[in-house]
Structures are given as C-alpha cells and as structure tokens.
Amino acid sequence: MYIIDPHIHCVSRTMDDYERLAMSGVVAVSEPAFWAGYDRSCAQSFVDYFRQLTGFEPGRAASVGIQHYTWICINAKEAENVTLSREVIAEMPKFMDKPNVLGVGEIGLNKNTKNESIIFMEQADFAVKNGHLILIHTPHLMDKYKGTMMILDMLKEVGADPSRVLIDHVEEHTIAPVLDRGFWCGMTLYPVSKMTPHRAADMLENYGGERTCVNAAADWGVSDPFNLHRCTLDFRARGHSEQQLLDIFHNNPVKFFSQSPNFKVKPVVLGEGEEAKPTATRAAEATVR
C-alpha cells in the first residue's frame, strides 16, 4: 500500500513518527502552514517558520525516504490580527517558488469573523493572481457549516478555479456543497470529537471518492497520523479493492498536487494479477478495535 498524507503538521511530530509513517507505506506528506498553539509576536516568527517548512522539514522527511511538500500562509486564527497578517503576506512571495512549496494554505476561517474574512480574501486573491493552488481550513464544530458557506462565497467572489482549490475538514453537512461546486475536499480524521475513520469511509462510499483526499492533520494536539491507516483498514474491510484504496489514499492527492509543477510523485496503477481481492469473508471476520 502506498499512502500520501495530504495534511500533516510535521514540525510538531518527532523523527519516530516520520520513521513509522515511512514503514507503514507513506511516500509523501504535505504540510500546510498553521497555528503553532500560541500567537506569534511578529512577522519575523513566520519567516523563520516558513524557513523551517521549506528547508529543515524536507531534510528530516528525506532521511526516511519521504517526500515533503508544504504550503505557505498566515493561518485563520492569527488572521484576526490584520496588521500582522499583512506583514506576513508581504513576506510570502519570497517562499512561493521554493522547490517543495505547492501553494497557499491552509488559509480559512476560525471563528467566522470580519477580520478573518478580510485576510482570507487577501490571501485567496494573492493565490489566484499568482496562479497558486489553495488549501483551505474550515472551522470546527458549531462554526463549520457557516464558515464553509462563507468560504465558498468568497472563493466565488475572488474568481478561484474550483479545480485548483482543496477545502479541508469537510464533514457530513459540508461535503455536498463543496463537491457540487467543483472543489476538491479533504476529510480529516481526529481521534477526539470530530470525524472518525469509519464516518470518513461512509462518506467515501456515499459520495464516490472523486476529488476527495483523506488526512489525519496530526499536529501538536491530541492527534494520530495513523488514523489515516485506520481508515484504509475499514475501507478495505468493506470490500473495496486495492486499486480503489490506492486511488483514494495515494492517487487523489497526486492528482490535485500535480497541478503544481513542484510535485513529483506519480500515480500508482496495479497491473493485472497484482490486485489483492478482499473477500466478503475477510470483511465479515474483521472486528472493530
């Protein structure tokens, strides 16, 4: 099994995680710029963070054979500070043509405020005008539905091409509006409180898995990069073929990311006879953890 984790915050993970990801089939990761758990005091802190994402992390990943890609932006939470955000946005062009950068992200909303919306529009506009892919964070819990609808409206306003935008953290109530408008979506598997591997597998079945990526968004909080693998186990146990698994957990991210010339991984297609056939018996025998 080949897996790409399209959303993981490697700066918060140890080398042991990288090694175990590599040992469990992860060949590439994509790391959006995000909130560090505390508000940074100046734009220079973001510049150093972008240096870490484009310089140090690719080296750590490469030491275990994983390709590391990244996204540059000011995150939705710190976007509440408009002055700081504009200083950070001014620094972004210096990093956009680093060899592992795929685009602008994860921009988005956190509490659906006016300030967050202003900075979202400015970053989306920067991405559209410069031809960058966009990766989007949607708010959590009670704010998700409203925030997702606000983001869809703003993307239309800024003239973004839906095929070049991935809207992440969709759940049962937000996946349809995202896919219906032609955007890519991401489903994030959190161990507590939000999407579970089983519900993600339900949504893959209900919506067909087109333009859909699955990630664990592991970071400094309670999270587990291997939730992604748990989803593959459940999806396989439901009787889906190895090629279907590869298409969702490897080839879909390849398809979206390959719109950036920096992305080098190619799709994996099994030859005849290579297809392991999961049987109904295997599914029936599989037990819940």
């Binding site: 659906n112 919306s117 529009m121 539905y145 089983h198 439901r238 029936a284």
Partner: protein, 82 residues
Amino acid sequence: MLSSQQVLDRYFPEVRAWLIQTAAVMDRLDRAAGSPHAVPEDERLIQFYKSLEVLASNDHEADRAKKIQMIFSDQTPAPSRD
C-alpha cells in the same frame, strides 16, 4: 459493499458503547448539583435532546449524521467585511 448483517456484526460493539456512554452522561447530568432540568434553556441541552429524536427516527431517508451535524451548527448570517 457490506450486507446489513455484516454492517451490524462489524459496528454493533461501538454503537453499544457509545449509547451506554451517552446514557451515562445523561445520568451524570441528572445527578449533578442543579440538574439539567433546572436549566432547560441551555442551548446545548436543547441540541442534545433534538439529536436524540433524530437517532430514534425510523425514516430510512433520514441522513441522520447530517441532520445531527446541522442541529449543532451555527446558522446565523455571515458578518459584513465593510
């Protein structure tokens, strides 16, 4: 695609666990000082009881997960950027 028998076999243990966990939280609320009956206007409790109604629904078109998601969603208008 699994048969309904297989779905039941595979997912029953976790559903059982979650239902008991929910029941235990309700019991805990009842035992707590100033039990929930004293604050029925708390929005979260209203959402909680509305969700239980969705769970109990026998409508096969119910789309229960989505319905419960919407019960827990803020649906007020977006702020103006001006």
